[in-house]
C-alpha cells in the first residue's frame, strides 16, 4: 500500500530541490523532466499495487481501465529465454 503518512526526511529541502531542478527549463522541458522523474521513481517503488494506488490518488478520480476487452488475469510472464535485457 502507498504510504501517505509523512515520510520525506526533509520535505522543505526536497520541495526546494524539485523546484530548483526545473529552473531554466522551458515548460516543455519541465514536462519532459517530470515524466522522466515519474518513471525513475516508479521503478524505485517497483510494487504494482502501490503504484496503482498512487495513480488513483494522483488522479483524484477513478482510473479508467485501458481500452482492452479483457485484462489478462496475470501480466504475461515471458519465459526466461525471452526476457529482453
Amino acid at each position: 500500500m502507498l504510504n501517505t503518512q509523512p515520510n520525506l526526511q526533509a520535505c522543505d529541502d526536497f520541495y526546494e530541490a524539485l523546484i530548483a531542478t526545473h529552473q531554466g527549463l522551458s515548460t516543455p522541458e519541465s514536462h519532459a523532466m517530470n515524466a522522466r522523474l515519474v518513471l525513475l521513481l516508479a521503478n524505485h517503488i517497483g510494487d504494482q499495487a502501490t503504484l496503482q494506488h498512487a495513480l488513483q490518488l494522483a488522479r483524484g478520480s477513478a482510473v479508467p481501465t485501458a481500452d482492452r476487452r479483457t485484462t489478462p488475469a496475470i501480466t504475461p510472464v515471458v519465459p526466461t529465454h525471452a526476457v529482453a535485457a
Binding site: 518513471l39 496475470i74 504475461p76 515471458v78 535485457a85
Partner: protein, 550 residues
C-alpha cells in the same frame, strides 16, 4: 498439373519460381456424388494455419480435406518472422529444419533514437535451446515447405480452386457448398475448421463477427533486394524518429536471398496510393541505405492495422483458427505465430475426439485456451502499437521520457516497447491443467509450454522436445515407478535413464529434484507436476487433461 506430380525440386527453387508455382485443379470424386460425401474434418484455407493443422491431423492418422479458393502460395511477402515456438511445432510436423535451413536465424535486436543506438537486446540470451528466438523467412517459402510436406502425407486431400460459398452448421457437423472451375458441389463435414484468413468468409456466412480496434496509422512495407552483401548484420533494427524518416518509426529486417524488409511508419494522413509508387518509395529506401545503394524493389504495400477477435472460437462443430479468429498488429510478429499455436492446440484434441478417446468437450476447451492466448497477443500488440504511435500528447511525453532514460538505465529499456516479440502463451487458467500441490519455482507452471533442453541418448545429442511422445509424456527425473508403464497412451521418459541431462539444464529449467515428474500434453504444454507422483494423481491429471473430468 496435379499437385502430387510437382517435382520435389520445384519447392526448393528461387523465390520467384516458388511464387510462380501453380497448383492445378483436380476434380474430386466427391463432385460426382449424388449426396454430399461425408468427411471427418474439413479445413477451409491453405495458409500457414490451415496447412499446419492438416499436417498435424494427418500425422496422427486422420483424413483431412483442405479447401482453398486460390491455387497459389501467398503473394508477395507478408509474414517474415517465425518464432522459436513455431519452429518447435514445425519440427513436430517434419518441416522445422527445412525452415531453419532457408531462413535467417536471429536473436539480437537494436533500438535507435534519432541517429543514436539506445541499446541492444538478446531474445535468447541463454545456451541450450535447439531453435533460435526467430528466423526470418518469406511467408511464401514457409507455405511452400508446408504444402510440400502435406503432399507427402496420404491423409491430406488439398483441393485448390475450391471456393467455399455457403456453410450450414447443424448438430453433429456442417454442410458446405463449394464452387470449382467445373461447377458447384457439396460436402458434409463432421468437424469444420475455418482457417480462411482475416476476412474469413466462413465467419461472415455464419453471421459471426470479429470486434476490436482499428489503428489510425499507415505503414509502408518495402522488401528490397540488395545487389551486394549488405553491411547490416542479421539483427532486428528499430528506429524511433530517425533523421532519414523524421517523427516516425522504421524497422529493418534481413530475409533470405539478400532481401531486406523495411517498414516505414507513415502516419494516418499518408495517401496509400501515392506511397505505393516506386518513385516515392525509392527515395525513402535510399535515405536509409545510402544514396549509392544498389537495390531492386521486390515488393511494396501500404497497410493499416487492426486488433480484432471473435468472442468465441468454437461454434458447435465449426471451429475458427488463425487470422479468421483473431487479428493483431504486426509489431511482435504474432499473427502467423499465434495461428500455428492455435492449430497445434486443436489438432490433438480433434484427433482424440475423432478416435473416440475423448468427448467433444475436449475440443470445446480449445475455445477458452486460445481466446486467452489471443487476448494476450492482442494486449501485447496493442500496447506496442500505442507505444510506437502515441495517441495523445502525454503518451508521447512518457514515451519520449522512457526512450531518453533507456540510453543509460536498464530499467527504462524494459519499458521501451517496439513490439514484444511472440512467445508462446502460458495457459494459466486452463481447465485442462491440474493445479500444483507441491512447491516449484520458475516458469514451468501448469499451462506453460515445456522449455527445451539439450540431452543425450545413447551417447548421441538430442533435445528434450524431440524426445516427447506424440500424445502425453510423463517426464520423470530418475527411475519411474512400475505403475507408469500401464498408463494408456503415455510415453514415459526417464531423465537420467532413457536420456541423460548432461548439462543439467532440464533439471534446472524444470526445477526438478530426483523423483520429480511432469505430465506434458500432446501440444507440449505442461498440465501437471509433482515432487513424488502417485498413480491416482497422474491418472486423475490425465482424465482432467482430456476433459474426461470436466
Amino acid at each position: 498439373m496435379n499437385p502430387r506430380d510437382i517435382p520435389p525440386e520445384a519447392f526448393h527453387a528461387s523465390g520467384a519460381e516458388v511464387q510462380a508455382l501453380d497448383f492445378g485443379y483436380v476434380r474430386s470424386p466427391d463432385q460426382d456424388h449424388a449426396t454430399p460425401a461425408q468427411h471427418p474434418v474439413v479445413v477451409i484455407g491453405a495458409g500457414p494455419v490451415g496447412l499446419s493443422l492438416a499436417i498435424d491431423l494427418a500425422q496422427r492418422g486422420q483424413r483431412v480435406v483442405v479447401l482453398d479458393n486460390d491455387h497459389k502460395l501467398s503473394i508477395g511477402s507478408r509474414a517474415i518472422c517465425f518464432a522459436k515456438r513455431t519452429l518447435e511445432i514445425w519440427d513436430r510436423l517434419g518441416v522445422g529444419q527445412r525452415m531453419v535451413d532457408k531462413g535467417v536465424s536471429w536473436n539480437l535486436g537494436k533500438v535507435f533514437l534519432k541517429d543514436e543506438q539506445l541499446y541492444e537486446f538478446n531474445l535468447l540470451p541463454e545456451e541450450g535451446h535447439e531453435r533460435p528466438a526467430f528466423i526470418n523467412l518469406q511467408q511464401y517459402y514457409a507455405e511452400a515447405y508446408l504444402v510440400e510436406r502435406a503432399l507427402q502425407l496420404p491423409g491430406i486431400d488439398i483441393r485448390w480452386h475450391n471456393k467455399v460459398t455457403a456453410v450450414q452448421s447443424r448438430d453433429g457437423g456442417a454442410l458446405l457448398s463449394i464452387d470449382t472451375p467445373d461447377g458447384a458441389y457439396q460436402i458434409d463435414a463432421q468437424w469444420l475448421v475455418a482457417c480462411d484468413g482475416a476476412r474469413s468468409p466462413t465467419r461472415q456466412m455464419l453471421g459471426l463477427e470479429s470486434k476490436g480496434r482499428i489503428f489510425q496509422d499507415r505503414f509502408l512495407i518495402a522488401d528490397v533486394k540488395l545487389a551486394d552483401e549488405a553491411n547490416f548484420p542479421t539483427e532486428r533494427w528499430f528506429w524511433f524518429d530517425p533523421p532519414f524518416h523524421p517523427n516516425q518509426s522504421v524497422l529493418l529486417h534481413r530475409q533470405p536471398d539478400n532481401v531486406w524488409r523495411i517498414d516505414f511508419q507513415l502516419g494516418w494522413d499518408a495517401d496509400p496510393e501515392e506511397e505505393k509508387k516506386p518513385e516515392n518509395i525509392i527515395p525513402r529506401v535510399k535515405a536509409l541505405l545510402g544514396a549509392d545503394a544498389q537495390f531492386e524493389l521486390d515488393w511494396a504495400s501500404v497497410y493499416t492495422f487492426a486488433c480484432l477477435r471473435m468472442d468465441q472460437f468454437v461454434h458447435g462443430r465449426v471451429v475458427f483458427a488463425g487470422d479468421s479468429a483473431h487479428g493483431v498488429s504486426p509489431f511482435g510478429a504474432r499473427g502467423a505465430n499465434s495461428g500455428v499455436q492455435d492449430a497445434e492446440n486443436l489438432a490433438w484434441k480433434l484427433d482424440w475426439v475423432l478416435k473416440g478417446r475423448a468427448s467433444p468437450a475436449l475440443v470445446a476447451t480449445y475455445g477458452p485456451e486460445r481466446e486467452y492466448a489471443a487476448d494476450e497477443n492482442l494486449c501485447n500488440s496493442t500496447r506496442a502499437t500505442d507505444f510506437i504511435t502515441p495517441k495523445s500528447e502525454v503518451s508521447r511525453l512518457f514515451r519520449d521520457a522512457a526512450l531518453h532514460l533507456a540510453r543509460e538505465h536498464a530499467f527504462a529499456r524494459r519499458i521501451v516497447n517496439s513490439g514484444r516479440l511472440s512467445v508462446p502463451a502460458t495457459l494459466y487458467a486452463s481447465p485442462l491443467s491440474t493445479p500444483d500441490t507441491d512447491a516449484f519455482v520458475g516458469t514451468q507452471v501448469p499451462g506453460a509450454v515445456l522449455l527445451d533442453a539439450p540431452l543425450t541418448k545413447q551417447g548421441q545429442p538430442t533435445w528434450l522436445l524431440r524426445e516427447l511422445g506424440p500424445d502425453f509424456t510423463l517426464l520423470v527425473f530418475g527411475p519411474a515407478p512400475a505403475w507408469t508403464r500401464d498408463l494408456p497412451g503415455v510415453k514415459v521418459l526417464q531423465i537420467g535413464i532413457d536420456v541423460t541431462d548432461h548439462q543439467a539444464r532440464a533439471a534446472q529449467r524444470l526445477d526438478a529434484l530426483p523423483g520429480t515428474a511432469y505430465l506434458v500434453r500432446p501440444d507440449q504444454h505442461v498440465c501437471a507436476r509433482w515432487r513424488t507422483p502417485t498413480e491416482a494423481a497422474v491418472r486423475s491429471a490425465l482424465a482432467h487433461a482430456t476433459a474426461a473430468a470436466l
